[in-house]
């Protein structure tokens, strides 16, 4: 930090003949500077998964679940994460206190997909795919928005699959699979996705 201290000198140096209003403005700036230079810390996870966590939260705004998927009008939207996960904590922080269509959003880490049937969203990271045993099974009919990130996941009939295009996150949506699950996906989201029509 010593080099910063040295280099910051002219920022506080006075150019000599300062008018009164410029002095006021300078004080104002410095007051703001000192007020706001208070550090905020944050956990370190890869940016790719930070983005994917934000996508997951955003998806819930564009999906309509059948009413049977919720106990009542204010019961939460549950995002289940399969297996130990790089970003469950990040996602939890991101959604804390947020509501989508009047419902709070909660994050749950689960060990097997048997625990996912009361969730609205299930995310399966590629490294935890083995826990699926090659099938999404009954989840395909029960109104769970399944989200994954590999070709195998898409082939299993997962509804949304993240892809990487050069260095940006994209996603594809399997429309027949979403229909089979009884989900209605907003056209705005479909417009941004690569839509695939292969039946699950």
């Amino acid at each position: 930090m010593s080099s910063i201290g040295q280099l910051s000198a002219p920022t506080s140096g006075s150019p000599g003949h300062a008018s009164r209003s410029s002095r006021t403005a300078r004080l104002l700036v410095l007051a703001l500077v000192s007020l706001f230079f208070l550090p905020v810390s944050r956990a370190d996870i890869s940016k790719e998964y930070q983005l994917k966590a934000a996508f997951l939260y955003n998806f819930t705004k564009f999906v309509e679940w059948p009413s049977r998927c919720f106990a009542n009008a204010t019961s939460p939207i549950t995002i289940s994460i399969l297996g130990d996960n790089p970003f469950a904590e990040e996602l939890e922080t991101a959604v804390r206190g947020r509501r989508v269509n009047g419902r709070p959003v909660v994050v749950k880490v689960i060990d097997s997909i048997a625990q996912a049937d009361d969730a609205q969203v299930l995310f399966v990271a590629a490294k935890n795919e083995a826990r699926l045993g090659g099938t999404l099974g009954a989840l395909q009919q029960t109104g769970v928005l399944t989200v994954g990130e590999s070709r195998q996941f898409a082939a299993m009939g997962g509804i949304i699959t993240f892809t990487l295009q050069t260095d940006k996150v994209r996603f594809q949506i399997n429309q027949p699979a979403s229909e089979q699950a009884g989900l209605r996906i907003n056209a705005q989201l479909l417009k941004l996705a690569t839509v695939v029509h292969s039946a699950p």
Partner: protein, 659 residues
């Protein structure tokens, strides 16, 4: 927090100022940008899907890596940097880059250069927007008021200080600015903004991005701005208020994952009391990737530039440009890039003032070029040698050779040492290189026969190109994860610098004769110095960038030769930026800038500040203060046929809506 502690104590302030004046021996430049993504992670959940799709996953360090390993003094301003800065114009945004020299000439015109030779007619900096040269060969420079690209859709501005002529061609002598806008795929959805203040009185614009079938994306955009008068040195209004408008579209088609087609077009106009003009252009580009190491790009554009200036002239210029380049691997250790280019420019210039008498206003120019560059991994991951040559032919000076040789050494993963030797030329433009027009540079003088003679600078078709041999070295290090340091030093040796005043003849006339002063290759000189930039991210949501540059200049030539185009640069410049996410919804940027005196202009020290608050997921309010530390200050010395005014303190507020 050295910042606010030093701010309180005048004694310490003075001491530090003295230390600064002693100078950090070497100098400035840095990797301006890329830790920025880190500061943003806190607010990803606030972004819309479209915005998330625009974020790159390339971990910051990896992206930085390619910049980090580049054997040149390079910096990149990202979209995030631009948004946070509050800058409304490209020249103002360039002030963020350590080592760039930017000065406002008046409300509309800017002087932009790197490593010296700045002024309203700065002619050694090449500027491209999406691969289209906006440096005009008419007078060797850029009409900055016609560059109104909507900054919201700019992906990045790449800044190279030092020559880039082997790849970019002639006139990339002191630097290259490359403005790159986003693909239409990355600007889907609607964006609207509106704002206003005292200097930038009105600004409004919008963009809509949509999709035409599976793999084709488009956007249409339009923007408007109105700017107030600025004050002259005596406090009177310079009457230089102006407004500008831009509109256009961009189409991006991806027929398969390895092919990308782009077609774009836009029109821009600018209107002031004594000057107006427009630009229309259209560009097509086809890019094909064959493998990780090989690809082909073909690009064509058409550009029309028109200006009507009361105190200069009325040029109309049409440019057609065609270029292609091909990259391929040659064995495991050689990566080769080569390319060809052709440009045709048709010009028609009319007279608007006797100060710029037109002699021959109709003419054409043609340019051909071919270049090849090899990147040779002498020791993989350690030592790389890059050698390249561009051969260019132009109508005025014939063949020009622009080679470079660059060496990169990576002692460890977190350090890069580089060195380069390059030759670059500034080719004569249409004002100094042919009998296009004269420039009256002063009041009539008394000459032979006691008659009056108006001193008029005239073109010289015998001119040679200005030549630069540049010797550069640089060092980058990331000593710890959250700190990076970028240092570059240079020694530039110029010869055949073009100026006027050395020889002259008296041509009698009635009522006033002409003192004819031809342009000539009269000066030579050296500049040397360097730039250092230090980026520190104390936390994920806060980034500080400090930049310092130091340079000296010596110019030699006959005493009679004018030094106007080789004016003394500011010896030192200092910038400090703080980009800070205060909360998930609010961010604050503070910038301080200090610039040493230049001839006729005292040193100045000023600050900008921008506070942005996301009112809802779709709506952002930003409040910006610019040049806050004085009522007004000059940044450029007066120049012929130009109104030079001062920069006042400015404020504006802006609402941006994305959905």
């Amino acid at each position: 927090m050295p910042l606010h502690r030093t701010a309180q104590s005048p004694a310490r302030r003075r001491l530090l100022r003295v230390r600064l004046h002693l100078g950090v021996a070497a100098a400035t430049a840095l990797l301006a940008s890329h830790l920025d993504a880190q500061t943003q992670t806190a607010s990803f959940a606030d972004l819309s899907i479209e915005e998330l799709m625009n974020e790159t996953v390339t971990s910051v360090s990896k992206k930085e890596q390619s910049l980090f390993d580049t054997p040149a003094a390079v910096a990149v301003l990202s979209n995030d940097d631009l948004r946070r800065s509050g800058a409304t114009t490209i020249p103002d945004a360039l002030r963020l880059v350590p080592g760039m020299d930017v000065g406002a000439v008046n409300s509309r015109e800017s002087a932009v250069s790197a490593r010296g030779f700045n002024g309203v007619f700065a002619n050694k900096l090449l500027v491209l927007v999406d691969g289209r040269a906006v440096y005009t060969s008419l007078f060797g420079g850029v009409y900055w008021d016609l560059e109104q690209t909507m900054l919201e859709d700019v992906d990045r501005i790449e800044v190279i200080r030092g020559p880039g002529a082997t790849v970019w061609g002639a006139n990339a002598v002191n630097g290259v600015i490359n403005v790159v806008t986003r693909s239409a795929r990355d600007t889907q959805g609607t964006l609207l903004y509106a704002g206003g203040g005292n200097v930038h009185q009105e600004m409004a614009g919008g963009r809509y991005g949509g999709r035409l079938g599976e793999n084709t994306y488009y956007r249409v955009f339009a923007g408007y701005q109105a700017n107030d008068d600025t004050p002259l040195a005596n406090g009177q209004s310079a009457n230089d208020h102006w407004f500008g408008r831009q509109g256009g579209f961009r189409l991006d088609h991806y027929p398969d994952p390895d092919t990308h087609l782009t077609w774009q077009a836009d029109a821009t106009d600018t209107r002031a009391t004594d000057s107006e003009g427009y630009n229309v252009n259209t560009l097509g580009r086809w890019t094909r990737r064959f493998s990780d190491r090989s690809g082909l790009e073909v690009q064509a554009y058409y550009d029309r530039l028109y200006r009507d200036e009361d105190n200069r002239s009325r040029p109309l210029s049409d440019t057609f440009d065609l270029s292609a380049h091909h990259t391929f691997g040659l064995g495991p250790r050689h990566d080769v890039i080569w390319g060809v280019g052709y440009r045709f420019i048709g010009n028609h210039i009319e007279q608007t003032t006797p100060l710029n008498p037109i002699q021959d206003g109709d003419f054409q120019r043609q340019l051909f070029n071919i270049f090849v560059q090899d990147e040779f991994k002498l020791v993989p991951d350690r030592l790389t040698l890059t050698a390249g040559l561009k051969v260019e032919h132009n109508d005025y000076t014939g063949f020009e050779f622009q080679p470079n040789l660059r060496l990169t050494f990576k002692p460890t993963k977190d350090q890069t040492l580089w060195a380069a030797i390059s030759r670059a030329v500034r080719t004569p433009d249409s004002v100094d290189g042919r009998n296009t027009l004269g420039v009256v540079v002063g009041a009539p003088v008394v000459g032979p026969g006691a008659g009056l003679y108006a001193p008029e600078v005239v073109g010289n078709s015998a001119l040679k190109s200005e030549v630069l041999w540049a010797y550069e070295m640089g060092y980058r290090i990331m000593p710890v994860k959250r700190v990076s340091i970028d240092l570059a030093v240079f020694y530039n040796d110029y010869s055949d610098l073009i100026t006027f005043g050395e020889t002259s003849t008296f041509v009698p006339g009635i009522p006033v004769g002409t003192l004819v002063i031809p342009w000539g290759n009269s000066l030579e000189g050296q500049t040397y110095g360097g730039e250092v930039a230090v980026t520190v991210s104390p936390t994920e949501s806060w980034r500080l960038i400090a930049g310092y540059s130091l340079m000296f200049q010596q110019i030699y030539g006959p005493a009679a030769a004018s030094r106007a185009l080789a004016a003394r640069p500011p010896a030192q410049q200092f910038t400090l930026r703080s980009a800070h996410d205060l909360t998930k919804r609010a961010n604050l940027e503070v910038q301080f800038r200090y610039v040493d005196p230049i001839d006729g202009v005292p040193a100045y020290f000023t600050a900008d500040i921008r506070l942005a608050y996301r009112l809802t997921d779709r709506l952002e309010l930003s409040l910006v203060g610019q040049n806050l530390l004085d009522d007004r200050h000059p940044e450029q010395a007066s120049a012929p046929i130009t109104v030079t005014s001062e920069v006042p303190r400015g404020y504006y507020a802006k609402l941006t809506c994305r959905f």
